[in-house]
């Protein structure tokens, strides 16, 4: 290991530590002093100078001065940061905010740290193409890490807090005294019944629309309008679906009676665009060659669709449907006005009776936190909901991987 590489690795680790300090400060709002920030930047700058001088002394080439110049830039940043005011008062500009200086110090540490760790790949690879390549790859790794981090934090947080609350009683009993005791058995059954009913409603509608769009419709204005309508439906906030469900299904169709069917119909409207889009994509993925081959054998269009196009796209269609149902299972807004009670509905017995459901149960428990001792129950409900939704999504992935068709 040459000194050049050792220096580069040293700079990499120092900059990682600096960016972590900055991140930590931003995340928990801890205050950073000016000299903490400036000191770490000066350390980084000295390392950069050392690296640059060493590189230039081994080979007198302009590009080997890179880290030297960069070290001076960091030093300048540290010096200029001295003039950041203690509190940046934005009120003279009609913005009612006061930003303390440690916020800027943390930001500087975070970005200088990440950027320097990225640059440290260059001296390590002696300023050649490979250095730029590994640097870019490193940045991509950092973005992946930052994407996955929230997911893991959420999942582990909910597991740690919720696992204790999941007991036999919790899973098998109805709610007792506003959720302080008892469990969520009717809510589990209610959620499952709602998903199943939604699937029964949405599958024929969504797949039918997709077949029409992908196979029959000529690529004209009408198709564009239908597709735009589907997209708009997908972008509509779920609370709007909920209000529509209440205004139309509950008030008009079911005479003011909240019920399982009204909730499932609302969820079906919510899920419809997801199912239609994924089914259309799955149908379009079947090569046109196969359609031609079938037509050339004297098959009608419908025979072609039924026997050649649909079978290979079935895994894709099912995956999309199941993913849509996973979304539906976790939604609160569409069902809170149309189908669910917090307590008293009992296990689902009729399509025309209200039910209890996990997402709404969670919302109601959250509202009671502070008034009643329901926090553990709430975390356990969250964990249960997470398990159901993740389970649905994982089953979709398994279906897709197992029956994936190659052409």
């Amino acid at each position: 290991m040459s000194i050049r590489k050792l220096l580069a690795i040293w700079i990499f680790f120092v900059s990682i530590v600096i960016s972590l300090i900055g991140f930590h400060s931003l995340a928990v709002q801890s205050e950073i002093e000016y000299w903490t920030m400036a000191g770490s930047l000066i350390l980084l700058s000295i390392s950069g100078h050392a690296c640059g001088i060493h590189n230039y002394s081994t080979k007198k080439d302009g590009k080997n001065l890179f880290m030297l110049i960069y070290g001076s830039v960091i030093l300048t940043i540290a010096a200029l940061s001295f003039y950041i005011p203690d509190v940046l008062d934005l009120r003279p500009w009609e913005i009612y905010a006061r930003i303390p200086d440690h916020f800027f110090f943390a930001l500087i540490m975070l970005f200088v740290g990440i950027f320097t760790s990225y640059l440290s790949f260059r001296p390590y690879h002696n300023y050649n193409k490979e250095g730029a390549q590994s640097g870019a790859l490193y940045v991509l790794h950092v973005t992946i890490l930052l994407t996955l981090l929230p997911l893991f934090i959420i999942i582990f947080n909910i597991i740690f807090r919720g696992a204790g609350g999941i007991t036999y009683e919790f899973l098998t009993e109805d709610i007792v005294s506003m959720g302080e005791q008892g469990g969520v058995y009717p809510a589990i059954l209610g959620t499952l019944a709602m998903i199943a009913l939604t699937a029964i409603i949405v599958l024929p509608l969504g797949v039918g629309t997709a077949i029409y769009l992908a196979e029959y419709a000529r690529k004209g204005l009408a198709v564009r309008l239908i597709r735009t309508a589907v997209n708009i439906l997908q972008g509509t906030p779920s609370i709007v679906h909920g209000l529509f469900g209440y205004a139309f299904f509950v008030l008009i169709v079911f005479n003011g009676q909240k019920c399982l069917l009204a909730g499932a119909l609302t969820l079906a409207i919510l899920t419809l665009p997801i199912v239609t889009r994924s089914a259309e994509e799955a149908l379009n993925a079947v090569p046109g060659d196969l359609r031609d081959a079938s037509l050339a054998l004297g098959a009608t269009k419908w025979q072609t669709i039924r026997k050649v196009v649909i079978p290979p796209s079935l895994p894709g269609i099912l995956t999309g449907t199941v993913l849509g149902l996973g979304r539906a299972a976790g939604e609160t807004a569409p069902i809170m006005f149309t189908a669910v009670y917090f307590s008293g509905a009992g296990t689902p017995r009729s399509l025309l009776r209200p039910v209890q459901a996990l997402p709404y149960h969670l919302l109601s428990l959250y509202r009671l936190v502070g008034y009643r001792d329901v926090e553990n129950q709430a975390w356990a409900t969250a964990l249960l909901l997470l398990i159901i939704v993740l389970g649905i999504n994982i089953s979709a992935i398994i279906v897709r991987e197992k029956y994936r068709q190659r052409f």
């Binding site: 031609d292 081959a293 037509l295 050339a296 054998l297 004297g298 098959a299 068709q405």
Partner: protein, 270 residues
Amino acid sequence: MIKKILEILKEDCECAYKGLPKGMKMRVDDFDLWYGKTQAITSVNMNIQKNKVTAIIGPSGCGKSTLIRSFNRMNDTIPTVRTEGHVWLDGYDIYDDTADCVEIRRKVGMVFQKPNPFPFSIANNIYYGCQVNGMDVAKDEVVERCLKQAAIWEEVKDRLSENALSLSGGQQQRLCIARALAIEPEVILMDEPCSALDPIATAKIEDLINELKKDYTVVIVTHNMQQAARVSDYTAYMYLGELIEFGKTKQIFENPREESTEKYITGRFG
């Protein structure tokens, strides 16, 4: 049933029937075709003889694939296509308003440029055509007959239930030919059937075409002039959507009447 339909057609619609001379299977009369506003085929006239191989040659983009796809109305699947003129099959106009595309495609089979077997088993690939046409045949028999006719039986007879996509490219193409034979067509159209294949697979398919012409009328599009010279009895040379020259293969290759044909065949252009 087809005969009945044709009889009815003959009585009801005299204009759709035109007797063809003996030995002639198809006849193309002043045929034009447009993709939107672009004319791809301009007043083509040609005759296709029964139990002979007719080759269509010409440089890329000259409309030869479009023309062959007109012979079983496969161009109908493209929304912007518009046609004028007639293509007669056994004396019946396949572009008549009363003509049934599905019926025409059953009588005029097609093999495509790229092997495109269905992702089913080998046997089901063959049987598919019989299934969709409601033909009352024993599956085993038709599978064996077609695979033997397409000279692929020996290679696949022990793996009939395997997925057709596990075959090699050349085998897939012969399977596609076998599949086209299953519905007992009268004419087989081949759109550059060997362009994706190696020389050995190509030779097998050329032998196969020679065999096939005993029972079927074959039309083949090819960009390989040697292939046209080897397998065909008649050759049509197309350029920019027009049929420049049509005649016996020997005459076209040895004594072309048009200068353009000669240039193309001798490789000075195209």
